[in-house]
Amino acid sequence: MSWKKVLVLLLALVLVGTLAAACKKKEEPKAGPTPGQQEPKKEEPKKEEPKKEEPKVIDKPLVIGMGADPNSLDPHALNDGNERLITANIFEPLVRQLPTSFELKPLLATKWENVNDTTWRFWLRNDVKFHNGEPFNAESVAGTVKRALNPELNSGYLDLWEGISDAKVVEPFVVDIITKDRNPLVPMRMAWFPMMDPKYVQSVGKDVVEKAVGTGPYKLVKWDRGSGIELARNDAYWGPKPAIGKVTFKFQKEDATRLMALRNGEVHIARDMLPEFKDQMPGFKSISGVEFPVFRINAKHPILKDKRIRQALNYAVDKEALKDQLYSGFARVTQCQQGKVEFPGGNPNLKPYPLDVAKAKQLLADAGYKGQKIEMIGERGRWLKDGELIEAVGAMVKDIGVNVDVKILEFSKWLEVYFDLGNPTDLIFVSNSFDLGDQDRPFSGYIASTGRSSTYLDNIPDLDAKILELRSEMDIQKRNAGYAALWERACDDPPWIYLLNLDDIYGVDPNLNFDPRQDQKILVQEITWKK
């Protein structure tokens, strides 16, 4: 009977061999740049021939792997981040944010100025046409704004356009954006307002969700729902001609699938890569994003109203360890503010609370904390490594002697707790993203006593007035200085346990010239092939 055993053994060997072959790495992956930094440009080895004519434009199709389908190609409908990625190549706003800062450059508008307290005037380019051949002008802007603000559309972008109430044609290529109150952020808000052809939108009706017509450098070719979207260069584009003629956005929900497709050369840019994929990607780029996980502290709570306790919670957390261990270095420790110091009005002089267990314990003792239970609520699966982050912070807070009860809820249950401001929980995890880099949002929304998500102290007499004043302060320098001063207060008397600012990680084909943007858009016109 021994031959049977041999047969079984052989079969087992074949199975193990197949598995081992599959698990074995194909080749040593190339190391990428340090997380949070752009890849340094490598110098190409100089060739013998001294004469070199204009650099040759390489027009190879580009494939971008992204995690989900867009909800629609109507750039004003639902704000889901996926639609934005594609429509940013089809539609254009009046102004555009620079790739790695919050400065603005002209796009469809050539200049803009503040005319009076409630009016911003924009001068438009007169050489722009929509993909359907219709001219772009002030009527287009006015029609676009009116349509987008119409309550029937129920746009998901309303918070980014906050305060804008109307648009009026002044001259064929001059338009006024009207606001409810003084609104210093209108130019930045207009960077998030893609322009449509109002007559076309009306003519296609509901089909606007899949028949995108803009002024951008790329035109929609086809949308295979659930599979991918193909765009082609708009040869009639008013600006510089993009090098890449065809681009496909592929939807690959599973992160590991996107990684495999990148390794197999099926996609050239893979979005939202995980920190642990670092050594498996053929190349990667990362940029510090606009996502800020924190714990909101209920400062109205009888124990937590004492700022020493809230400071102790901040001293308890080893942010560096979280950054290195949990996010493999793909994050930055925030400097004691909900935002980056590079945000207009950010305070570069503030330093993060260092890990100091002794000091934290001392502060708890000084505040008379006697082991009362503190509830910590979190969720899992909504944001990158959120569950692990919550558990780690919970353990660190326990280490200083706080009797913390960590509860991780399902997201919809978490939402109920988060919105229940009548009966706020003690500590709740949330990840905020600040697309506009604006300081008003954290203060108006989370610190002012009237804030939509505020559980901060409501007995600081001048705080609300100061926040309200800065909100409509038109002098940018004064405004920024005001916010920097407010951050100093919010650091000393913290409404949050400040944590990290996460990086956006992109897997990138090494043959591609691509630098990620802070606003998370992938503008194909900015990408070229090396070879």
Partner: protein
């Protein structure tokens, strides 16, 4: 016979109706879609406006009445995520799923029947053991892990096949193989056991005694009588593939079928789309079951002769 068909048809309708009510209730119980749809710092006005525009400010029974009145006409409302009729969106995805499940089912059947039959001929033999190991592997290996492993081997390492997406025949191979393995394993086990039962029956001994060739005994006499059990398990597996296994495989291989749509509907808290998708899956599975039930009459004349 007619009574039998009508009975099965009515049963299928009841199942679909029950599934519809259940999915409607579940989607309304598990959370507030309005809060999930809006940004975290949405104002109360925005919340109220969206709630009223979706009709969610009405009492639950009023909402259900409105849902039922429309649903009987096939109108499940607009998908919140895609802002198009939910049933249209779900129907668009059905052909991809049918293609994948069809291919996987074919692979599973083609492998499972010979494997099961061969194993049953000499129970306890080396061949039987090898077949049992293969079948067990099929049942035990998680789809997710197997799929990734195949992707690494056949796409990244060997470069033979694309990792994911939909396209020509080569795009179908990896997802179909991944999806087929579990049903193949279970079906092979079932074929073996049904065949063993039949081969132990007296009519088989009689046939052998009469000098009928072993091949004919196995393939004509025993296999035909084992067919009801095999068809039952095959139908059951087909239903499971349509209603469950495809979710993971479609997700992994980015196959734009209804399984992936269900995940996306959940992600986007798109309850009209979720309802439409689940009901469509329910209808498809009920049709498969109905077909299986009806096929019994082909294999077993006693059912045909009921009335």
């Amino acid at each position: 016979m007619h009574r039998y068909i009508i009975g099965r048809l009515l049963f299928a309708i009841v199942v679909v109706l029950a599934a519809s009510v259940l999915v409607w209730l579940l989607t309304h119980w598990v959370g507030d879609p309005v809060k999930l749809l809006l940004p975290l710092d949405a104002s109360r006005d925005q919340v109220e406006q969206l709630r009223s525009s979706l009709g969610l400010d009405q009492p639950l029974w009023v909402q259900f009445k409105a849902f039922a009145a429309k649903a009987v006409r096939g109108d499940f409302g607009d998908s919140l995520w895609q802002r198009r009729p939910a049933m249209t969106v779900a129907m668009e995805r059905l052909p991809a799923t049918i293609k994948l499940v069809g291919a996987a089912f074919l692979v599973a059947v083609i492998l499972a029947i010979p494997l099961g039959v061969l194993a049953s001929i000499k129970p306890g033999s080396a061949l039987d053991r090898v077949t049992s190991i293969l079948a067990l592997q099929g049942v035990c290996i998680p789809d997710f892990w197997l799929g990734l492993l195949m992707m690494m081997l056949f796409s990244v390492k060997l470069g033979w096949l694309p990792t994911s997406g939909i396209g020509g025949f080569n795009y179908l191979i990896l997802p179909a193989l991944t999806l087929s393995l579990r049903p193949m394993g279970r079906m092979a086990q079932m074929v073996r056991s049904a065949m063993l039962d039949q081969l132990g029956e007296q009519y088989v001994t009689t046939a052998r005694a009469k000098g009928v060739s072993e091949l004919k005994v196995v393939l004509v006499h025993a296999l035909k009588n084992a067919a009801i059990s095999i068809v039952t398990i095959a139908g059951w597996e087909l239903g499971r593939m349509l209603a469950g296994y495809t979710v993971v495989v479609e997700w992994l291989f980015t196959w734009p079928g209804i399984g992936m749509l269900v995940i996306q509907a959940i992600d986007n808290w798109d309850f009209p789309l979720l309802q439409a998708s689940v009901i469509l899956i329910g209808v498809t599975v009920s049709m498969v079951n109905l077909f299986v039930d009806l096929s019994y009459s082909f294999f077993d004349p006693r059912i045909r002769g009921e009335d």
